[in-house]
Symmetry: C2
Subunit: 247 residues, 2 copies
């Protein structure tokens, strides 16, 4: 059995399958794909994932893309700790949180993070390097997203709206965690893994609105998820390649 995971930093999408594999005790080979050096658009990677998206899981030749379905795949394909509630209603609650993370929280967070971290890093590169990199991107959507980032084309009102949405989502997550220990109910599940990957940085990222007074249940849960041995092991894959750049 061969399991290969192609990933970048263990946050947002990359951290989801990394944590899931380690939680289940699956032996796998980690392949670092350096998004900031555009390795995801190199022919070798495009042969595995034609859209140039990271992460990708390769299991005995089967290529699994898209990190959230990938997590369900990991739970279905491998033995070990179940990462989904045992009952259908619990799984429905789990999937609702996964969708909420991917469709509501994720895009807002991503806009703020790209504007704050990736944009400034990119603007330190030469125009030639950036043009070469843009030319290698396989999809129109991604060219648009990278161009927006490089050119810092994030209108202040869109950034403010994204921050409003992040704070709103943090409030909803906090309210749920005031009622149940884990997002889908009584058991730790993929919902916790997927939301944790997006939410773990929020207390430092938006300290004025997400903190021990405003969202106490969220902060306690971040601590609880983050101290799990599997999560600590996954976070150790970090190379700290995303750092804010002083203006």
């Amino acid at each position: 059995m061969a399991v290969d995971l192609y990933h970048f930093e263990p946050n947002a999408n990359g951290g989801k399958p990394l944590i899931a594999l380690i939680e289940k005790g699956v032996a796998f080979t980690s392949h670092w794909v350096d998004l900031l050096n555009w390795e995801q658009h190199q022919p070798a990677y495009l042969a595995i994932n034609p859209k140039g998206q990271v992460p990708t899981l390769v299991h005995d030749g089967a290529i699994i893309t898209e990190s959230t379905p990938m997590c369900e795949y990991i739970d279905e394909a491998f033995e070990g700790l179940p990462l989904r509630p045992a009952d259908a209603a619990g799984r429905a609650r789990m999937r609702r949180w996964c969708r909420y993370a991917d469709e509501f929280l994720g895009p807002s967070l991503s806009m703020v993070a790209w504007s704050r971290f990736i944009g400034p890093m990119m603007r330190q590169r030469s125009r030639e390097e950036l043009d070469r990199a843009l030319a290698a991107i396989p999809t129109k959507e991604r060219i648009k997203a990278w161009t927006k980032t490089i050119e810092n084309d994030f209108p202040p009102e869109e950034l403010a709206e994204s921050q409003r949405r992040i704070a709103f989502a943090a409030g909803r997550i906090d309210a749920q965690l005031g009622q149940t220990p884990w997002l889908a109910g009584e058991t730790y599940s993929l919902a916790d893994i997927i939301v944790f990957n997006m939410a773990a940085g929020l207390p430092s990222f938006m300290a004025e609105r997400i903190n021990a007074q405003a969202t106490p249940h969220l902060l306690a849960w971040i601590e609880r998820v983050g101290s799990r041995p599997a999560v600590r092991e996954a976070l150790a894959y970090s190379r700290n390649s995303l750092r804010p750049i002083a203006k």
Copy 2:
């Protein structure tokens, strides 16, 4: 066992759980929620679904929202024809198509459909009725979407981009169906149900780009899915409330 489905027309989101329930032979009570008369924002419905989204499934008191996770719930909670591939890789393929439908095809289709059908219908109502209806909408996102529709605030370049995306998606679906009889592979699954609900109208909706010459596999599959007894039964719930209005 009580199963209640609150739904509108059997297309887009409403048709998904309707087809899934009928395919599995589940006895349920259908409740029509007239979106065009804003019944989804009435207190009675908001008590079931606080966001005012349709459809909602209520199963022995458990409230299940969001049509795609709802379909997985239906397959997990009830006996009958399995609507997901038996193996993890097949289920991963199925979930990728479901996401593709919800995240890529759906929003584009929705923009074109709201602009072409719902907007003109709304502009026949009085300003007073529209203002009353807008005031009852529970979320900012939905107020924005309805205002955009009523005011016909769809820039031509956005509509053109949506049409480009729909045609692109139709091409991808057609390519898959040239390789396998069903979207996730050898068996009919929720991917077929979910994509069918969005794609069935495309040959009449965008006849110049989606037709028997350009996308033959897609058209044959629409015919194949549409002639299933369960799908025919679901489509019979239609009240034909969405009709284009002559300008």
